[in-house]
C-alpha cells in the first residue's frame, strides 16, 4: 500500500508546485504577450490599409469557414472611400500561411502582410525576408553608406496594386526588383520565391479564397441592412 500512496503523494506535490510556478509566470508575462499581439495586428492593419481609418473587427462563419474582416474608410478630398482588410489563410509547405490583405472597393490590393508562417527557413520562409543591400563586411568596416534598406519584405510588396478579384498569376523570374514591376502589373502576377513555389501559390490561393468570402460577407450585410430598413418601415 505504502508503495502506491507515497509515490502518488510525491507526484501530486511536484505537479502542484509546478502548476503554481507556471500560473505565476503566466500572470507576469500575459499582459506583455497580449500587448504584443495587439501591436502586431495594428501594425499589420496600418500596412495593408495605408491612410485608412479602420473600423471594428468582424468575425463570422461562412460555409463552415471562419472569416475575419475589418471595414475601413478614407477621406479623399471630401469623398469617403471604402476599404476592407481581411485575413487569408491557406496550407503552405508546412502549416498554414496566414496573411492580412487590404483591398479598396474595386478589389485592388492596397497591401498585404504575412502574419504567420512556418515554412522552410531559407526557402518558403523568405516570404518574410526583407531585402537589404547592406553586407556583412560592409557592416564590419562601416562602409554601408548608400545601402538601400527596405522596411517590408519584397515578396509581400509585390501584391500591392494587383487586382484580387481576377486570377493572380505566378511567374518565375527570381527575386523581385524594380525592373520587373511593369511586366508583373500587366499580367496581374507576382514573381515566385525561388525554390518555394508552393509557398507562393499558397499565399495567392488564400487571398483568392478570402476575397470570395469577403464579397459573400458584404452581400449578406447589405441584405441584412436592407431587411432591417423594411422591417422598421413596416412597424411604423
Amino acid at each position: 500500500m505504502n508503495n502506491i500512496v507515497k509515490p502518488a503523494i510525491i507526484l501530486a506535490l511536484v505537479a502542484f508546485v509546478s502548476s503554481m510556478v507556471l500560473s505565476h509566470i503566466k500572470k507576469i508575462t500575459y499582459p506583455s504577450i497580449l500587448k504584443q499581439e495587439k501591436e502586431k495586428q495594428e501594425r499589420a492593419l496600418a500596412i495593408v490599409l495605408p491612410g485608412y481609418t479602420v473600423g471594428e473587427q468582424k468575425n463570422l462563419t461562412l460555409d463552415g469557414t471562419d472569416f475575419t474582416y475589418w471595414p475601413a474608410e478614407k477621406d479623399e478630398s471630401g469623398k469617403m472611400i471604402k476599404g476592407y482588410a481581411f485575413i487569408a489563410s491557406s496550407p503552405g509547405y508546412s502549416g498554414q500561411v496566414v496573411s492580412m490583405v487590404g483591398v479598396d472597393d474595386r478589389d485592388t490590393i492596397l497591401g498585404m502582410s504575412i502574419l504567420q508562417q512556418s515554412e522552410t527557413p531559407g526557402l518558403g520562409a523568405r516570404s518574410i525576408e526583407v531585402a537589404s543591400s547592406s553586407t556583412f563586411f560592409g557592416t564590419i568596416f562601416g562602409n554601408n553608406r548608400g545601402a538601400r534598406e527596405e522596411t517590408r519584405p519584397w515578396f509581400q510588396l509585390q501584391f500591392t496594386g494587383l487586382n484580387a478579384k481576377n486570377k493572380i498569376n505566378i511567374v518565375k523570374k527570381g527575386d523581385w526588383n524594380e525592373a520587373l514591376k511593369d511586366e508583373l502589373a500587366s499580367q496581374n502576377a507576382v514573381s515566385a520565391i525561388t525554390g518555394a513555389t508552393i509557398t507562393s501559390r499558397a499565399t495567392i490561393k488564400g487571398i483568392e479564397k478570402a476575397i470570395g468570402l469577403l464579397h459573400t460577407a458584404l452581400e449578406r450585410e447589405t441584405v441584412e441592412a436592407a431587411g432591417k430598413v423594411t422591417n422598421q418601415g413596416g412597424a411604423r
Partner: protein
C-alpha cells in the same frame, strides 16, 4: 580539479551531440542561422542548468520507480517558463524558433543529464555539468549553423556576405545539416584516433 573536469568534459570528451549522440532534433532543425543557434543554446542551457539543480536537490526524496515522470515534470516546467518569457520579451526569437522551444522538453540532453548525472551528484557538480554540456551543445550548434548559414543563405548573422551570389539551398534544408554534421563527426573521430596512437 574535479569541478573543472566535470565542466570541460561536455565540450570535447563527452560532447552531447558528437560523442553521446543525443539532442539531434534541435541540432538539425535550428542551425539554419547563427542567431537561431545561439538563442537555442541559451534556452536549452538555461533549462538544463535549472533542471540539474532541482533534480539534484530532490534526488533524496524521489522514489526510484517514479523518478522519470518527476524529472519530466520539472523539465517541462522550466521549458514553459522559458517559452513564456521569450514570447513576452523576445517575440522575434520566439517566432523564429517556433515549435522547437516547447520541444526542448524532449531534448534527450536534459533528461539524460538529469538521469545520468544530477540524480547521482551534488548540486554544485550538477551546475558545472549543466553549463559544460550546454556549452558543448552550443559550440557544436554554432559551428554547424556557421557553415550552413554561409553556404546555404550566403549570410552571416542575417547580413549578406557576397552581394548577388546565389547560395546553395541544399545546405539550408535537412540534408545540408546531415552533410555538415557528418563531416564534423569525421573530423572529431580523426583527431581522437590520432591522439591515441
Amino acid at each position: 580539479m574535479n569541478y573543472w573536469q566535470e565542466f570541460v568534459k561536455g565540450i570535447w570528451k563527452k560532447n552531447p551531440i558528437l560523442i553521446l549522440g543525443i539532442g539531434m532534433c534541435p541540432t538539425l532543425a535550428v542551425t539554419t542561422s547563427v542567431s537561431n543557434a545561439l538563442w537555442m543554446t541559451m534556452a536549452t542551457t538555461m533549462v538544463l542548468v535549472c533542471s540539474n539543480i532541482l533534480v539534484s536537490l530532490v534526488k533524496g526524496f524521489v522514489p526510484g520507480h517514479i523518478r522519470i515522470p518527476i524529472f519530466i515534470t520539472i523539465i517541462a516546467t522550466f521549458v514553459t517558463v522559458v517559452e513564456l518569457t521569450l514570447n513576452a520579451f523576445q517575440p522575434a526569437v520566439y517566432k523564429a524558433l517556433g515549435i522547437f522551444i516547447p520541444l526542448i522538453v524532449v531534448n534527450c540532453i536534459i533528461l539524460g543529464r538529469a538521469e545520468e548525472f544530477a540524480s547521482k551528484n551534488s548540486i554544485i557538480l550538477s551546475v558545472f555539468d549543466g553549463i559544460g554540456m550546454g556549452l558543448g551543445f552550443g559550440v557544436t550548434l554554432f559551428v554547424l549553423a556557421f557553415v550552413r548559414e554561409i553556404l546555404g543563405a550566403n549570410k552571416l548573422f542575417g547580413l549578406t556576405l557576397i552581394p548577388g551570389m546565389q547560395p546553395s539551398s541544399a545546405m539550408i534544408i535537412a540534408p545540408g545539416a546531415f552533410f555538415t554534421l557528418g563531416l564534423m563527426l569525421w573530423g572529431m573521430n580523426y583527431i581522437n584516433s590520432r591522439k591515441k596512437d
